[in-house]
Point group: C2
């Protein structure tokens, strides 16, 4: 229920605008959901507009009201995934300050999201998308953990390759085979080891309870 | 120079057969070299026959004498890369028995090959090809190192994700930016750490001289 609020526009126009906006958001959501599946299946380069129209079940004209090209839709889908990620994982990590705790939590939540959302997982694997925000925060945590003497690795880029590469490969395998319940934790463990965290600290990092995720559901509104 | 060998066929036919076989091998080599570049640039799904014909500079009819489809060519290119890898890296590792030494050597030689052969590197990154032989040998080394108590990781598949994923990501970065001279060693270091090798053993593994590589040059003959 929405509280009644004062408006200079007449009620009926406000209502129409809102309904129109909602319908627009629903259609866009439908196209992007379809795009997620198409890109996940065919990769970023192979799909044609026809693929998206068919999968989304919208008219060609409707499609072009939203996106002009495959590239534009890929861009929008990536952006939307990043927003979705920010809302779910980043929000949960907001209050964490310790870089080891942040990194561990990030890896665990990311892998759990991949488990709970196979379409998202397949898209990230195929399109090799990882948002700039994720990269920036990861770099910050790696640097801080190295400075604190908790991590030990030869260079920031290679440490990043380890984190992103291991997770991506583990996600790629998830699209092809069943993984055990401990999958997220197993991945976090080898990643933390790879970053040079000593075994006692690895155990401690993995024994902490995970913060609550506010939302994992998809929506672009 | 070839030693003269007895043959039931007349010399001239033998010569002709050999010349024909050599020409065939050269054309095939040219098509596969072209395919390597095309797949590296466009990924495994996007290319069409026209792309390969243009890049290789062969007639359409000639092309179809060798490969019937994009998929068949992708298969052949992957197979050829694996053969190439076996000849170069596997041969160099033949005499190594210790799993830690084998794994370290494998990672170092693989990364150095990626550095010395950008087209190979780009292909492996884009097509996500890794031969079954490589997978089998990697699994063997991981299992042996775990059993010997040198490695410490929660599961074989996740250890594999760490090795393959980190290397793939490091190679992907090599296709986009310059990497320092220590790149191969840096990658090997975080991989060994990730597998739970203690720091003294990591140093020892990385200080060993690399075996000579018999060939890194490409040839499908």
């Amino acid at each position: 229920m929405q509280a009644k609020r004062p408006s200079k526009e007449p009620e009926v126009v406000d209502h129409r605008t809102r309904v129109g906006r909602e319908r627009r958001a629903r259609t866009q959501s439908r196209i992007i959901e379809a795009a997620l599946h198409v890109f996940a299946g065919k990769g970023p380069d192979a799909p044609v507009i026809e693929d998206f129209i068919k999968t989304a079940g919208v008219a060609r004209g409707t499609f072009y009201n939203y996106y002009k090209s495959t590239d534009e839709l890929l861009e929008a889908t990536s952006k939307w995934l990043e927003d979705d990620l920010i809302m779910s994982i980043e929000a949960a990590m907001e209050e964490l300050n310790d870089p080891v705790e942040r990194l561990t939590t990030g890896v665990l939540l990311w892998m759990k999201k991949a488990e709970s959302d196979p379409a998202w997982c397949a898209f990230v694997v195929r399109v090799r998308h990882h948002g700039r925000l994720v990269e920036r925060q990861l770099a910050g945590d790696l640097r801080a953990g190295l400075r604190a003497g908790d991590f030990s690795f030869p260079s920031l880029p290679v440490a990043r390759d380890l984190v992103i590469g291991t997770m991506r490969e583990a996600m790629s395998r998830m699209t092809q085979e069943r993984v055990p319940k401990t999958h997220a934790e197993d991945v976090a463990r080898v990643v933390l080891q790879g970053l040079g965290l000593d075994s006692r600290m690895v155990e401690r990092a993995l024994s902490r309870p995970l913060p609550k995720i506010r939302r994992l559901a998809r929506s672009i509104e």
